[in-house]
Amino acid sequence: MKLLQDRFGYPVAAITGPCTDNSAGVDNVEAATGCVALNARLESEALAAHLMKTLGLGAGVVS
């Protein structure tokens, strides 16, 4: 997160990957970063909903 934010100026919308594989990882990540940590395989609905909100895409939008 430090590299992404300090060097590239990107806010991180969410953290996923093996570091979020269980509650030990999720708790650690969220406590250390304050960033949303969701596992893409186990919590895909919640992660997608969070990102749709961040992107300004309403749930259920059909083009």
């Binding site: 997160m1 430090k2 590299l3 992404l4 060097r7 590239f8 100026g9 990107y10 806010p11 991180v12 919308a13 969410a14 953290i15 996923t16 990957g17 093996p18 570091c19 990882g25 650690n28 990540v29 250390a32 970063t33 893409a40 395989r41 895909s44 609905e45 992660l47 997608a48 909903a49 990102l51 749709m52 961040t54 992107l55 300004g56 895409l57 749930a59 259920g60 939008v61 059909v62 083009s63």
Partner: protein, 291 residues
């Protein structure tokens, strides 16, 4: 020029639409993307498959004749290697990835073991013009257009997924999210914009529900690097936007500190202006913090 029958045609050559029966020559320009024919010399117990143009994987065995393409690779959990400056028929090169990228291996991870040794059989020739009797060296970039240096207008919201390293969960996250977005009724387009040629990830995106998925290989690039990664991204964004998707999901292959140009993409202000959200895929807590 002589005929050669290919047992297997690697996915990296897919732009060339090769037939199993090709003609080969002995002059090698040694450019990225040049399609060469090789014979597999060694046997491997792990990391021993080749991705075919169909996207299916096939085990490689000694004696297999294979068409692949010259390219370089800098993979921490795979091989490091480069394109040779000269090649002669009969030389030995190495298979650098499962997509059929061929070059000189200079280093390998113990996880994947030494690469397949390959005897060079010839430079595959193409005959792009009707009635042409003298072939020209086949190259995967022959019909590729020019890369864009400026971002196009009309880009829909972009979700970028970056990782701390290869195998940090980026593709799994992309596929899982694409599936959820599609279930919400969104039309999703997706692309893998950095890395080394392999169809597997973009096929996974389509299988998850993306209306379309593209990669740098379709632009004639075997391996992305800092010098072309941002232009590749601009070009793929423009191509995907033509289909008017609701959302574009970009996977930035490899890690933030790799050699495939992820940093160049993140530094590009015009690309950054299109990215509505960025997700970090991290293998471990320390990697997550440092990234």
């Amino acid at each position: 020029m002589r005929p050669l029958h290919l047992d297997k045609i690697a996915s990296v050559t897919r732009n060339c639409a090769l037939d199993r029966d090709v003609r080969v020559g002995d002059e090698y320009p040694c450019r990225e993307g040049d399609v060469i024919a090789v014979r597999i010399l060694s046997r491997k117990g792990t990391y021993n498959q080749l991705e075919l143009v169909s996207g299916r994987f096939s085990n490689l065995k000694p004696g297999d004749t294979v068409a692949g393409a010259l390219g370089h690779r800098r993979a921490l959990q795979g091989y490091a290697g480069h394109i040779p400056s000269e090649i002669k028929t009969g030389d030995t090169l190495q298979m650098l990835n499962m997509g059929g990228v061929i070059g000189v291996c200079t280093s390998f991870s113990p996880e994947v073991g030494p690469p397949f040794e390959c005897e060079v059989l010839g430079q595959v020739l193409s005959f792009p013009f009707l009635g042409q009797r003298v072939g020209e060296p086949a190259n995967i970039g022959r019909q590729a257009g020019t890369l864009r240096e400026k971002i196009a207008g009309g880009i829909p919201p972009v979700l970028a997924i970056v990782g701390t390293c290869m195998n940090s969960g980026k593709t799994a996250a992309c596929a899982s999210l694409i599936q959820e977005f599609a279930r919400q009724g969104l039309q999703v387009a997706a692309a893998k914009v950095t890395g080394v040629s392999l169809m597997r990830d973009t096929l996974a995106m389509v299988d998850a529900g993306a209306r379309t998925a593209a990669s740098f290989t379709e632009l004639g690039i075997v391996t992305t690097q800092r010098s072309n990664a941002a232009s590749i991204t601009r070009t793929l964004l423009a191509q995907l936007a033509e289909g008017s998707p609701d959302l574009i999901v970009l996977e930035l292959g490899d890690g933030l500190m790799g050699d495939y140009g992820v940093d160049a993409i993140l530094e590009a202000a015009d690309i950054k202006a299109t990215v509505g959200a960025l997700v970090l895929a991290a293998s471990d807590p320390v990697g997550r913090g440092a990234a």
